[in-house]
């Protein structure tokens, strides 16, 4: 009996075919899925990544709600042209605490993975209010209503808690003081005590009035705080050695 004929048996018996197909699909699935359970083996550890502050998290929620990711990616691929334009390619550790990650797959606008620090707060606010004021040919929608809406910060504690259960290293203290930290960050050193915030999230945290409205924590505050921190965690000059060692 030739190989072809043997195969015919497989094809002609639906039960055998079903079993064989299932086995083939299982092998494929296992090979693809198992590595995802072991991401810690894929992610090169980088010391400086911190979880988002509550205010930045509120900003990320607005980013998702407004669908910014439908026009903006947050992943700089390791291609020459992208690295020239956007900076160091994204590394897995940088989106380690993103739930959901916002790599995106479409670029109507530029990649935002390293937009933090590229512009001033004023620029972001003016740009989000009316992109065409600054970039005449822009097709980005206007988000001026973010100025007037208060950010949803009363439930940030639960939000942190949910992330905590997913393995994001928020401490119980952070969970408890989430709302307070959000207000402190959007108000800034000049008007309030931000030392607790700095203690919990590091000295480098941007704490200031982002939107020029010191008395409210607007959605604009939250979104700009989020944008200003994107891609700023890792000091790539400092980890160059680690990279050079990599295979």
């Amino acid at each position: 009996m030739s190989l072809v004929e043997k195969h015919q048996k497989l094809e002609r018996n639906s039960v055998i075919l079903l079993i064989a197909t299932t086995i083939a699909v299982l092998i494929g699935g296992v090979v693809e899925i198992i590595p995802l359970f072991r991401t810690e083996t894929q992610i090169k550890p980088v010391g400086d990544i911190r979880p988002y502050t509550p205010l930045e998290l509120a900003g990320q929620n607005i980013y998702v709600r407004e669908g910014c990711h439908t026009c903006h990616s947050q992943q700089i691929r390791s291609l020459r042209d992208e690295v020239v334009r956007y900076g160091h390619y994204s590394i897995p550790a940088e989106s380690m605490y993103d739930h959901p990650f916002l790599w995106g797959s479409k670029r109507t606008g530029p990649d935002l993975a390293r937009v933090g620090g590229k512009y001033s707060d004023d620029w972001h606010v003016a740009h989000l209010k009316e992109p065409r004021d600054l970039v005449p040919e822009s097709v980005m929608p206007s988000y001026s209503f973010l100025m007037k809406k208060g950010a949803k910060i009363d439930d940030l504690g639960s939000h942190l808690k949910a992330l905590q259960s997913l393995g994001v290293p928020y401490t119980d203290e952070m969970v408890e003081l989430a709302q307070q930290d959000a207000i402190a960050q959007a108000t800034g050193e000049a008007r309030t005590d931000t030392s607790g915030l700095a203690e919990r999230y590091g000295e480098k945290v941007n704490a200031r009035d982002f939107d020029g409205q010191p008395h409210i924590v607007s959605e604009m505050d939250a979104l700009v705080a989020y944008l200003q921190v994107l891609g700023t965690f890792v000091d790539f000059d400092a980890i160059k050695d680690v990279e050079d060692e990599a295979p």
């Binding site: 002609r12 090979v31 590595p35 072991r38 390619y89 590229k118 620029w123 740009h127 295979p247």
Partner: protein, 321 residues
């Protein structure tokens, strides 16, 4: 198996059912008298199929593929995306090296006097400007409200190569140790001046900028006390503080009464990001030359010594403001 089995499937009796017209075996399926021929797969198709299987085995060996405890098989070729990037960058570096070797060592003066290096700087500068600066300063560097025009010879912080280089490295009010820093007081908001006093000093600003004929005496007094320290006695500006010239027609925020009032009431503090950590040194040098050549570049006798730009040097040159 399988005579019986076969029977079930073909629905025919024992043995093969041969199609009379072609002499080819049928699958035994029949629809309204139409039968399906059991032609073998085309040979070329099978070959392609077998080759893909062989290729996949080759791929497993050569490239990183199978997950194993502690990572994945690395493959014999040692391929990584990082490595591939480095290689493709090397290719460009190698091409640029012709210029870079000279460019890195040349002083700004030498670059300006060397056609090739100059072209290299201008091309790179123009490209980097589009990627990083155009969104604030406009595509042609013409600026917009709050973002200065870089084409003219009206400078806030200085238009010599060393000044521009300093501005680019450390930014303006950008929150680092070496950044340009100054803060005009918010005279109204912080109640340093009353509304009447602000009105008066605005009148004076309107006068020195040539927009109205009549000066306000009271305003001139206030100006001398409150503003001259930064903007200069005659309002001609002072680069030490990045304080704009108030006597010309070039305005950063606007020269109409309403806007000037707003400026004095709330103050302004334009922020320009620092580029030291975002762009590499060569790109910053290219940009410096590009900005300098846009139109308003000023001569700099000290360009040779003063590569990276040093604020302290500026004081020596304060006279030429």
């Amino acid at each position: 198996m399988s005579d019986k089995n076969n029977q079930n499937h073909t629905g025919k009796g024992k043995g093969k059912d041969i199609d009379h017209a072609t002499g080819i075996e049928t699958t035994g399926h029949e629809w309204d008298g139409i039968k399906e021929l059991n032609n073998p797969m085309p040979r070329w198709w099978l070959w392609v199929f077998f080759i893909t299987i062989i290729w996949s085995v080759w791929y497993w060996v050569v490239y990183p593929s199978w997950p194993v405890p502690g990572g994945a098989t690395l493959g014999t070729k040692g391929y990584t995306q990082e490595g591939a990037l480095k290689e493709s960058q090397q290719e460009i570096f190698a091409r640029q090296q012709v210029y870079l070797d000279k460019f890195q060592q040349a002083s700004f003066d030498e670059i300006l006097n060397d056609q090739e290096l100059y072209r290299f700087a201008m091309t790179g500068g123009a490209a980097a400007f589009k990627d990083n600066c155009a969104t604030c300063h406009g595509a042609g560097g013409a600026g917009q409200t709050g973002y200065p025009n870089l084409n003219d010879d009206d400078w806030l912080w200085g238009g010599r190569l060393s000044d521009i280089s300093q501005t680019l490295h450390y930014g303006i009010r950008a929150g680092n140790m070496d950044t340009h820093l100054s803060q005009m007081p918010a005279f109204g908001k912080d109640k340093l001046l009353s509304r009447e006093e602000i009105e008066a000093v605005v009148d004076h600003v309107m006068f020195i900028s040539g927009q109205v004929k009549a000066d306000s005496e009271h305003g001139a007094q206030i100006f001398a006390q409150q503003c001259a320290a930064c903007h200069g006695e005659n309002g001609q500006g002072d680069r030490e503080f990045g304080a704009p010239n108030l006597t010309d027609k070039i305005w950063l925020y606007g020269g109409d009464r309403h806007t000037v009032y707003e400026t004095v009431y709330n103050a302004r503090a334009g922020v320009m990001p620092a580029w030291k950590d975002r762009l590499d040194e060569n790109t910053i040098r290219q940009l410096t030359i590009y900005i300098h050549q846009l139109g308003g570049g000023e001569q700099d006798d000290m360009a040779m010594e003063e590569e990276a730009g040093d604020v302290r040097e500026r004081e020596d040159n304060a006279g030429q403001l």
